[in-house]
Subunit: 132 residues, 6 copies
């Protein structure tokens, strides 16, 4: 058996199909992304992860595009290739322009640089950041 | 000599003072944060880093608050305590509400979780994310 | 010269062959994995690393399968593709079931999420965790 | 308002109290850890995170102690101080001996070392690890 | 449009060409590396990054080879495949021998290992490292 | 019992004392650093780690100062506070000047930034970096 292979709709259990159906309905897409087809090897994780994604990525105090860009920022920092590809695409689908993408990546680069400058020079947190 | 100590305005070279003055003028603050006082040990880095921060964090295709939240997302992922404290404060100063902060952190947590699920199950990037 | 190429048994020095022979004998395999063939460019590292692997991964207070799963957890967190592949295979060879693998990855995902929630909300370590 | 402060039971909303009560009942403890008191600023995250912890950390194909040790492995790799403290304590409460702890950390160290050796020498994943 | 494609000299704006020309002149090369052709989608980042690279990587208190090896050390730790390839090549071009490379990687591996041992055992920083 | 406490020479087993003695002799110091006193809880790790440090950090194709600076680069990237403190001190003891330290940190910051730019724009590795 291959270590990891996608589970397509036709081969899925009813439990997995129910999640796939919900993803397709919500996202108005024909088929789910590979991420979900691979995660389907663990139906409990599939269900829980999709539930979390639905709740957390829904519009709330932050709009969906801002949330996708935050997702991209984390994925770039962690160098998760699949996640960068899928969430950059999702951000574009939600209206991210090339200029916005360029600025997003510039901020991510800058933050990763200054995080290390702060680690090294180790300034104490300013009192005002801690004050009541 | 202590490994790292702040360089205060009174002890700074004219080159360093010029950067401190620019930070204070731009940010309309009385004194610069500890980060800059420690980075002042390396005047070239101080100048270059402040120049980058000015350019990258300025309003552009993304608004300043969105940029600060992206900065926080990276700093939380990297566990840079100083950076979390200072950029969370900056985001609050730019209008981030507690509800927005809570959603930001929830997205960061989710992205760090699914980044590892993607690493482990290793789905190939869907063709549509690569297509022309 | 290519930056990195495997050193096969036939091209190896006696010093490298001795390590390869020990790996093959211990693991009852015909040939060593690519990791060792590439590391053979640095015979001192090859020898030291194999020595550490032998000592640390041997059965002790923890059984070998638990150790392999911990290895996988770190490799998934660091996104080391080779290490995930080789240590997941090793864990399967030592009896890891698909259900165990699924739970392992779920814990890794959860830990990476809550690590960031803890970084962001920055709770002080509870006194009881520090107490004598 | 201070950036982060604990929300104690007495100050909590009924929604938050319900989660605190469930944590205390399940874990047979008098009071919840600081992590939950800080996360209570985001009741939705509090509820979702506790739900995930309950499901994922329950005994299943892996026993609870193995799961805690995997949690520690990730937290050590990410240098999350709170998480190391709380999950090491949890693992000890579930029976982890000092000898087991020592071996766990030794494996984590080794995996972090060889992850970088593999990154640098970049061996291709052996065909057998990919084979059907 | 493909998410990311190189911008070649012939398709570049005068602003981008000016950076490309400076890179080629400084490095005495016929064409710039792919990194710069992709970064050219964001001309401001292209210009700023090249400016930083020129300043930081120039000979100073540290010689250029030492700087390249430090760059490799970071890239291996972060598992940035492109950066490892390009900066290892640059270090070799500046005279890094295979023996030096092997020792560099061995130190990177060791540091990543002991970083985690220190995280886990959490020794307080010795007074002498903090003393004036 | 406290989770982690130092094991001082007076309380150490003969096996641990032998390592402590070797560290003191080699480094010409009165007492070992806290790192070793905490690691002494796992005598096998203590011995193996000290053996690796002795071999890897010894002068070879790279001089000891270069090795210490590489160690610092990794520790800053990983944000290991103890390791930054101890290896920065060690580098200073081996002659690192403040100007060299400043350049080291600037390179580390730059590499962490460009690592993310490379992750995001994902340029293919140039053929010349792969060529034979």
């Amino acid at each position: 058996m291959a270590p990891h292979r996608p589970i397509d709709y036709g081969d899925a259990t009813p439990e997995v199909r129910a999640v796939f159906d919900d993803i397709k309905r919500r996202r108005k897409i024909e088929d789910v992304n590979n991420f979900w087809k691979y995660l389907a090897h663990d139906p409990a994780s599939l269900q829980r992860t999709w539930q979390s994604v639905k709740e957390i990525m829904a519009p709330g105090a932050l709009d969906p595009l801002t949330k996708e860009m935050i997702y991209v920022a984390v994925s770039v920092t962690n160098n998760c290739r699949y996640c960068m590809a899928s969430h950059t695409a999702a951000a574009r689908a939600k209206g991210m322009t090339e200029a916005q993408y360029a600025e997003l990546i510039a901020v991510v680069g800058l933050a990763n640089e200054t995080n290390r400058l702060a680690n090294a020079y180790d300034p104490p947190v300013d009192a005002k950041f801690l004050a009541e």
